[in-house]
């Protein structure tokens, strides 16, 4: 969790000793506009398997990106070295942090601070017909193409 924006261990923080401090846990990571980019990237890239270590890693990653918006994978490794995961082998976590950082930076430079991922997806231009996944080796039927355009999805993306 974060205490006054610092990533710390909740099991070693005495409640009495943090009176008046700002405490942020993973429950607060999802904003009014939707899931945090880190959460979206973790879900997309399979960076959470059992999910038990995920809250701590998400919060530590958030603090990392606040301090270093475009960390290299080795910088992320060094930052997260106090978080154990027994499922993922860490690789997808590094990739997810990188992806989230990219998206946050892209959004920042585009000046769309508050748009959620889902909103952007909806706003995205319809993909070219050539990009659509052919169904059973053939081009989709007109209705299927329309269906694809409506959802705007050509790959599995979930907010999970």
């Amino acid at each position: 969790m974060l205490i006054d924006d610092e990533p710390v261990l909740s099991c070693l923080a005495l409640a009495l000793d943090v009176q008046g401090a700002a405490i942020e846990t993973v429950e607060g990571l999802r904003g009014a506009a939707g899931h945090h980019e880190l959460q979206i990237a973790f879900a997309e890239l399979g960076a959470a398997q059992c999910g038990y270590c995920t809250p701590g890693i998400l919060m530590a990653s958030k603090a990392l990106l606040a301090e270093n918006p475009r960390p290299t994978q080795s910088e992320t490794s060094a930052w997260l070295a106090g978080n154990l995961c027994r499922c993922t082998g860490y690789i997808k976590i590094l990739e997810a942090v990188e992806l989230a950082a990219d998206r946050i930076e892209t959004r920042r430079s585009a000046g769309e601070e508050n748009a959620t991922h889902r909103q952007r997806r909806r706003a995205a231009a319809p993909p070219d017909e050539a990009e659509l996944i052919p169904i059973e080796g053939k081009r989709g039927t007109p209705r299927e193409i329309r269906q694809n355009l409506q959802t705007g999805e050509t790959e599995g993306v979930s907010d999970g």
């Binding site: 610092e6 990533p7 710390v8 261990l9 070693l12 923080a13 005495l14 009495l16 000793d17 530590a60 060094a78 930052w79 997260l80 070295a81 106090g82 978080n83």
Partner: protein, 327 residues
Amino acid sequence: MLRLPPFVFRPARTVVEAVDLFGSASASGDEAMFVAGGTDLLPNMKRRQFEPAVLVGIRRIDEMRTITNSNRTAILGSGATLYQIARQPRLATEHTALVEACRQVATPKIQRMATLGGNLCVDTRCNYYNQTFEWRKSIGFCIKKDGDICLVAPGSSKCWAISSSDTAPALIALGASVRLVGPAGSRDVAVADLYRDDGINYMRRRPDELLSQVRVPRIEGLRSTYVKIRRRGSFDFPILGVAAAIRMQGNRVAGASLVLGAVHTHPVVVTEATDLVGHEPTAERLQAVAEAAQRHATPLDNADLTLYWRKQITAVTVRRALESLVG
């Protein structure tokens, strides 16, 4: 899960208040301890290695968290976190060993909670002692807590728990001292004199004395380093710490210090390092110091990996540390 035992928490806002709170707890017959980051103390309490009735909180004492860097001395509040110290660019240049030590303590998150004072006072460690109450009960307890023999060296009358501070060897090599504030006033003690050869009463700091600040002299041209050997790149306590500092004049060594951590109940000063002074640091001379250092290392079978290996790699680790400073 393991629970903290019940205790009374008394937060202090000033050094004087902290010492007073400690004194009044003691006066009413309660065992008291200071707690800053709590990263060593609280897990030890969960395992019932410490059972204080009163914890005097010193984390929020502002005067203990400041870092001032004059031209002669760096004065570090003992409540400064390891992370805070590790981020000081000037310290990184002038007191490299300290910054390198801070960066290698435990994990990045713990470095943000753990304080410099806490790391200097960190409890000695032994894998017969750093266990839960139930485990220690099963093995019959040891001399350091609840028992009467040392399980590592059953013939010994003293406790062989290992000094496991990373910052202590670094600060000794840098010639630092600490200020201890107690009910009777304050005193300054060299970090080199802070520790005793006893795994139980391992410090000369009295329990009612608060370690309030660390003073590190600034020595022109001093280069220093801290090398830590441990199994993983994070989490682990040292199984060997090597702090070395060398000042060159031309191609000759003008000053040298070398301190080993995690090889004894206290940090071990390798006096043979001064043999380098006045000479060119040739490979042979560095090797001679490295071999002398290895003779000082007396690891026992109470930490990670084998004691033979821990002793065996002392020379190579020291040699590499020295080479990095004269190269």
